[in-house]
Symmetry: C2
Subunit: 440 residues, 2 copies
């Protein structure tokens, strides 16, 4: 076995102490390890366990919550060099990968066999499977095809003390023992380090039909997205853009989206012509404008608004991307109240939503400087979390808890659940070395 | 609060000491409690915890593994009277139910709104949601629509000491905290007692096309089921019946299935006409006979073979229903080897398989008497488990571990995972009162 590569170069450390949350950890990590095998990860953890050294596992550092930040004294465990697709077995509908594989690379490899890796977080071209697993990443098409957890069959995990455990299975179905796999998925590197994953690949679907429906009123747009399900339609994606977002896109791209209506709903269907026809009927009922296409390049044009939203909002100032979810029927109410929160605190908030599953991304525009977050933005964020819980929802739909939402997590979980979760953490990581202070 | 109803009548106890596994527990349970609310369950558990009394939660008693058997000294916690659908919210795609709701009843209630509860264990007309959750029940259409876990959003669970914890969420997406929901799903009543469940409802799909394809060779049938996925087809169900099963059905029902081929593959498609056309092409390549229909009553005729299989096999003798899963590509090999095991031990074995996810049910015909299982049948079962692990599979695809597969579970999990699972059990149930001796 070759030795694990290490670095203590300041530039290497600085490139691995932050994620995309804007959270600034105190100090600089002690070292970065670049393991190339499970055995090397085990060695790093055995030593860290013996020395009680904090270890921060890291994929691509695209977390939006502070989950991948590393401060003074920590070892960053950079898993990006464990990036091999070890097996791709089309007949089994299974891939076995290392954690550093880029999500889109796996999807492309599967596509060569008529299959795909279904989860599609917006970061899929830069984020890693390991990071997706750590946060149980969602995405656009999870309304129909599920989140990361729904595609993870089994895991190889190095525990805090360096032991290696295999969870789950290589089969599509199986119920032997407690579901440790789901426990590790979404645990943000606090229970163990994923060094291998057995993933489910699904058949590539039928060609899609994409709709862009504009509505004069936000409630009509939200109602249309809800009406799809009871009309027996399962959209692949249903993305809602509010007025502030449309204004931002129009300003950035010279489009006239806002003119067509104050809310835009983008819907994609892959269930065949009958389902597409029903979708056209449902979406058209209250729309001020409805366009649809099956053509590939026209589809890209219709989806351009969603893709361009974040860059357009970034032109207004520094974006704080929130991530609440509410019961689907409360979506319009949530967007309306978020606009009210923006007025109350006098901060711009643009809201995008994965309407199909009630997951909203209110994007707070927090000034132009890179300094501390303005108080008004923080207060607005707190009001948004408060709103999510009041509507029967959650403070995080797909980004995770990290450092930013720990106080709110305790409130959402309640004391019994929070207590159980802390006991689980203590069971898996009795010395508290794995990504300490995160997720709980 | 009214008091919990209790019974110590011998006939009431006897009706609740067994499940459908054939396992005979030692003695008769001490009492049966019939709670009607979470509060009553809490009270039962607080007392049991204080007195260190074993508690066996029970739904409909349809377990095939001994998981619901209760012997001397145990309290049976019969949850069948907690059978209300508390909320059904079509706009949210969510139902909130008590554990004693019959699975098919929920599905019918959802259908009135264009929705359905997707998991369909064969027992769905008699088994309960709580029992489905306890075993993470599968079924026919889980190849496309997932197993029970994939439809459970959140749970209310009474812990061993009587505390009530709510897990998960009422939204379709959410990643706040560790996934306690998945930990309770499939835990066979050993970590807590489910007293409420928030379930996902999905849109009713397009009308289906059903195919019955006969093949002269088992490998051709299995290969056809595998070829579907890489031809971009996601069947709702893909059921394989082997030669011994076809013979049993022909003998019982006067049909001539075996004449058309030595293996029968039943496939259902709900993804529209293009997908159905591709399926016809793929299934037809090597078939000796291929029929298809979209008509409802003709569909029932085609599926009658699958439905009639177990009753037909029961005419041959007492059925021991095994439940292994293997990687999809090893399906034919597994069926072939099971036939060899039958010859070796001179016991009839009929094999049905959910081919879409590699889940096989070899049904060992264990004589005609109700006495102890013959040695040859037990040896054949052990050889089947051995085979599952050798092919990279699992000893239980959807029925669970219960009492019957504990030794094999330890072997499948390996020492590190088994150790972690025992620690989890001790964390949740420090006095070991919840369904003791089961599942682990």
């Amino acid at each position: 076995m070759t030795a694990t590569e290490w670095s203590t170069e300041p530039s290497v450390l600085d490139a691995r102490r932050l994620d995309r949350s804007g959270v600034e950890p105190a100090g600089r990590p002690a070292a970065v390890a670049f393991p190339r095998s499970a055995e090397q990860v085990r060695e790093v953890l055995r030593d860290a366990y013996a020395g009680r050294t904090p270890v921060v596992p890291r994929g691509a550092g695209t977390a939006l919550t502070g989950a991948s930040t590393a401060g003074a004294g920590a070892i960053v465990l950079d898993l990006s060099r464990m990036n091999r697709i070890r097996e791709l077995r089309p007949d089994d509908g299974v891939a076995v990968v290392e954690p550093g594989v880029i999500t889109a690379d796996l999807d492309r490899a599967a596509a060569a066999h008529g299959l795909r890796y279904a989860p599609d977080p917006a970061s899929l071209e830069i984020s890693t499977i390991g990071g997706n697993i750590a946060t149980n990443a969602g995405g656009l098409r999870c309304a129909k095809y599920g989140v990361t957890r729904d595609s993870v069959l089994g895991l190889d995990v190095v525990l805090a003390d360096g032991r290696l455990v295999s969870t789950g299975r290589a089969t599509l179905k199986g119920v032997a023992g407690y579901d440790l796999t789901s426990l590790f998925v979404g645990s943000e590197g606090t229970l163990g380090v994923v060094v291998g994953a057995t993933l489910r690949l699904r058949p590539l679907p039928e060609p899609t039909v994409t709709f862009a429906a504009s509505y004069g009123d936000l409630f009509d747009a939200a109602a249309a997205s809800v009406a799809l399900a009871t009309a027996r339609i399962q959209p692949v994606l249903a993305e809602l853009l509010d007025e502030a977002t449309l204004d931002a896109i129009d300003a950035a791209d010279g489009t006239h989206l806002r003119k067509a209506g104050s809310a835009l709903l983008l819907v994609q269907i892959d269930g065949g012509p009958q389902e597409a026809a029903r979708a056209a009927e449902v979406l058209g009922r209250a729309a001020s404008d409805l366009r649809s296409t099956s053509d590939r390049s026209e589809t890209a044009v219709l989806l351009a608004a969603r893709r361009g939203a974040l860059p357009a909002i970034e032109r207004l100032g520094r974006p704080l991307i929130e991530d609440i979810a509410v019961p689907r029927s409360r979506l319009a109410e949530a967007v309306r109240e978020i606009a009210e929160i923006a007025r109350r605190h006098d901060v711009p908030i643009c809201t995008l939503a994965h309407a199909g599953d009630g997951n909203l991304h209110p994007i707070i525009v927090a000034g132009r400087s890179a300094g501390p977050i303005p108080a008004a933005a923080s207060l607005a964020a707190d009001d948004i979390f408060e709103l999510a819980l009041r509507l029967g929802g959650t403070v995080t739909g797909e980004h995770g808890v990290g450092l930013l939402k720990r106080a709110w997590l305790a409130r959402e979980l309640g004391p019994v659940s929070h207590d159980l979760q802390r006991q689980l953490k203590a069971l898996f990581d009795p010395r508290g070395i794995l990504n300490p202070g995160k997720a709980l």
